[in-house]
């Protein structure tokens, strides 16, 4: 019998030895596995490019381009917010001018009864 034959003959015995592990040890092994699985986070793949694990970017196996892609959504969000803030920029002077050019005097808006009348649903 050569070495490989001998090794292959030993394998079933070793398998049997592993299968014969006691119930207590098996239970503890199962508990250890569950503990390990608590620490395990299923990788999230975004567009097949990045892996995000527990809030941490795992970029070990990705190229520089792919790493840069990770930050693309954040950059896009910042750009959209910046653009929106520019669009919404209303000049307070214009508001004052509109208020002053109305027929209604500004003091009318300070009148409690007039404000409650404005709040009522119309006809």
């Amino acid at each position: 019998m050569n070495e490989n034959e001998f090794g292959s003959k030993m394998k079933p015995w070793l398998d049997r030895s592993a299968a014969a592990v006691g119930e207590m040890q098996a239970t503890r092994l199962r508990a250890a596995r569950l503990r390990a699985m608590d620490a395990y986070r299923e990788p999230v793949r975004l567009l097949g490019l990045v892996t995000v694990n527990a809030g941490t970017a795992q970029t070990l196996h990705y190229s520089v381009f792919q790493r840069a892609m990770l930050f693309l959504p954040i950059a896009a969000l910042i750009a959209v917010l910046a653009l929106k803030s520019v669009d919404d920029g209303s000049d307070p002077g214009d508001i004052d001018a509109q208020l002053l050019t109305q027929e209604l005097p500004p003091d009318a808006f300070l009148d409690q009864d007039f404000r409650s009348w404005l709040g009522k649903p119309q006809g």
């Binding site: 070495e3 090794g7 292959s8 592990v21 092994l29 390990a36 699985m37 620490a39 694990n53 795992q58």
Partner: protein
């Protein structure tokens, strides 16, 4: 990941027991190895897990030896079992008989005999020198090829072959001395 760990946990435990000769430490080692794999390599393809896990497990066993400083335990056992040194009795593998039976014990007597054989094999494996046992387990139990075994053990392929050869001859010699045929 869970399925993979479930499939290897018992073998990993027995490997650790063979190495450290103590169940509590073996459980700690396996738990540590499983935790490391789950924490550090969650995104690895399933095909890479066996090799990775074996590397982590073997490192954990080595760490245990470093910490506990019990490296010489197996050499004492080796001496007791007469595994050390060369002799002129010929190649024990040449005279090992191969039984073609299915290894399923038919009677209580057979079961007793099989449990005795299993215990003898376990003792012989435990008594192997650390590197020989590691190489033998990885090659013939985990069925890694020589190259993969070398990667896990951090040595050359030639060393793996040498360790495996010595381990198989040592085991065959011990089993033959006990009148055991596989």
């Amino acid at each position: 990941m869970s399925d993979f760990l479930a499939s290897v946990e018992r073998r990993a435990f027995k490997q650790a027991v063979f190495a450290v000769h103590e169940e509590q430490s073996a459980l700690d080692i396996v738990q540590d190895a499983m935790l490391r794999l789950a924490e550090k390599y969650p995104d690895r393809p399933a095909a890479e897990l066996p090799l990775l896990f074996q590397r982590i497990l073997q490192n954990a066993i080595r760490d245990h030896f470093r910490r506990s400083k019990v490296r010489s335990t197996w050499t004492t056992l080796l001496g007791n079992l007469g595994l050390g040194g060369e002799d002129d009795e010929g190649d024990p593998l040449d005279v090992m008989e191969v039984e073609e039976s299915s290894n399923i014990p038919a009677s209580p007597a057979d079961r007793l005999e099989q449990s005795q054989v299993m215990a003898a094999i376990e003792e012989a494996v435990k008594a192997l020198p650390e590197r020989q046992r590691e190489a033998f387990m990885l090659r013939y139990w985990e069925e890694l090829d020589v190259s993969e075994t070398a990667k896990v053990m951090g040595c050359s392929e030639g060393s793996v072959k040498t360790h495996c050869s010595r381990a198989t001859h040592a085991l065959a010699k011990v089993l033959r001395a006990k009148g055991i045929t596989l």
